[in-house]
Symmetry: C2
Subunit: 421 residues, 2 copies
Amino acid sequence: MIRFYNGPVLSLREGFELKNKEVWVKEGKICYTGKTPEELPEFEREINLEGKLLMPGFKNCHTHSPMSAFRSYADGLELGDWLFGKILPLEEKLTPQNIYTFTKLSILEYLSSGVTSIFDMYFHLDGFVSACTECGMRASICGAITQDAPDYSRVLREYEKYNNVSELISYNLGFHAEYTANRELMEYISELSLSFRAPVFTHMSETKSEVEGCRERHGLTPPALFEGLGLFDHGGGVFHGVWLSDEDMDILKKQNVSVVSCPCSNLKLRSGIAPLARLKQKGVRICLGTDGPASNNALDIFREMYLASLLSDLNQKGIPVIEAEDVLLAATKNGAELVFPDSDCIAVGKRADLVLIDMNRPSMQPEHNIVKNLVYSGSKDCVCMTMIDGKILYENGEFFIGESPQEIYERAKHELKEITQ
Amino acid sequence: MIRFYNGPVLSLREGFELKNKEVWVKEGKICYTGKTPEELPEFEREINLEGKLLMPGFKNCHTHSPMSAFRSYADGLELGDWLFGKILPLEEKLTPQNIYTFTKLSILEYLSSGVTSIFDMYFHLDGFVSACTECGMRASICGAITQDAPDYSRVLREYEKYNNVSELISYNLGFHAEYTANRELMEYISELSLSFRAPVFTHMSETKSEVEGCRERHGLTPPALFEGLGLFDHGGGVFHGVWLSDEDMDILKKQNVSVVSCPCSNLKLRSGIAPLARLKQKGVRICLGTDGPASNNALDIFREMYLASLLSDLNQKGIPVIEAEDVLLAATKNGAELVFPDSDCIAVGKRADLVLIDMNRPSMQPEHNIVKNLVYSGSKDCVCMTMIDGKILYENGEFFIGESPQEIYERAKHELKEITQ
């Protein structure tokens, strides 16, 4: 059992109040919160919270972890040129072993950023799952199938396999995007959603040309198309959601579809700026993701929080702005509600996916408002511990994932040479 | 004498090539670079660069350091409401002692971000200078006078005093901004510039309404007004430069005036996005600054570099984009050329203002392109050492500035209580 004591806890159970209380962790879960009892049990480890803040870990709700291989490999391009011209030719060469190695590289970065759960979309899933389970990373996988797949029933097999592989791993129905899916594929996913009563996830309305293309192909915007196909009858989420009309947002709200915004990637690939303030006004749940490290180029949830808050109300005068509190929830609780049940807050019975924030880093001082400090001036160097499922995987700059960073870097370097030569 | 050896050096002398070479530091300066000689002298300290990159420190060319007092105190407002409604009433209460304490708080953050020089604009300069010289921070001060000052000759006294107070400190002619300066004040600064053959610095064209107001008051845009007044006859720099016409940029180029861009603050205060790509095309020197920590809300040069690169070419199709290399120079060499002579690169005789970047942080891997990694995925947690004038002031998360961070935080907390109650 691990004990946190003697300092502030931001439980996010309701509101944003900091409370000084004990938090005990046992077998992956939070087993006690509250006052210090007169008699204490034996602890494996006792962590004094003096000068530190305990809070739920961050949820990175859209990423392509193995793309760390391509960080700083192709930049300054728009999405289409970047993806089809530079990235896809290399992706074709990736082996499951590569996926395993580059996922581990990304896991190091998630942990250093306080991210305790990732919602990932890629391929060669066995390599991805091995990396996550070996390291102790919590991950949900989103189906990434395109119309070019020889056999659509792969989604069904993946759904059954990866929902039963580890406590840390789950799998959600999904497909890559409307522009890479024919009607047959989308109808198949819709049928699976109906039969499992399961939500569906996909890239959607990332670029203006994607939305225009969808109108040409189907006479509808992507949300209207997906609604008609019944894809969102059990809710779900869309990645990006940059180019949304008011009617699109009404559909998302009505169908209980969340928007996972990726502000850094959307700017870097010049896709645009998501209408977060308007989405908030419409009552659509907003989550945050980094997108893959080749289009960002980091996996830094603090950077996403900051950009989300800065960009949200640009050119949207008259609409209530996104507050620091909204952004913090987008990066934590909302993500948990999307695909990581039982890790939304600090309460008994919840998963012990926790981070410690060092309040003695200069950017966290003075303490006028802790939530604003986290969102507006927080950064990776403030994360002094990341715990997933009750295990400390990162502490004071060091990683405890069964393999040293240097080993991972060396292997990544070696494997990259084989891909790029 | 301190020795750096056995690893890559990004000297920025010319180009961006990494070279494995020795760098030795003595009495505040770089005294040797090159091959390892057969016989080595005695060193006070030898630093193995394995897994680390040695490069010139970052130059933060626009800040108001003591405003760390107001971080997370007032957010979500536009510049005018924020400044006049919230900040000025508190600023009036600040004492020189407060300036001293809050400058130290900011110095901690500069050091953790690899910033070795700051170009600061504020008041109660004795407090600021004491904080910098005690800590070992290199700083240039920019005159911040407004038309409300009882005696304009204060600028002359400051110029003479603070250019002779310490090797670490310099003072540059300047005034707060056109919208707080009458013609008499601007003419006085212009005369001083002429008599000292010295450049002039000021806030300029930060908001649309500021430029519109200047047109109403003077019938000219700020650059045209300043040119006519002879303010830029010896060059200088403007802070922000968000709302610039093509003609404005031509004036800046012709008059050898640099633009110090503050992308985070400009977005946070909804001032706008500076036309960096167009400025680059026009050949205007671009530097970077954080602006004050109350309008940013961090002092993180990595965040500025990232945002500068992402925002620069938004909505500016057809103009060559700002590359990672441009942004790195803006944050280093260009700033040195502006006001910090002899710290522009790693070469014999230059000031030993250096940082070590930990290439073993996950966001710095793989190493396809080190400059891109620094600009697109670098962050404060990659800075493992900051040296100013040959002294190591920050290393592996610890500060060596003569006072502990905790002492500074406690004093700041105590002094804040007195101001805000």
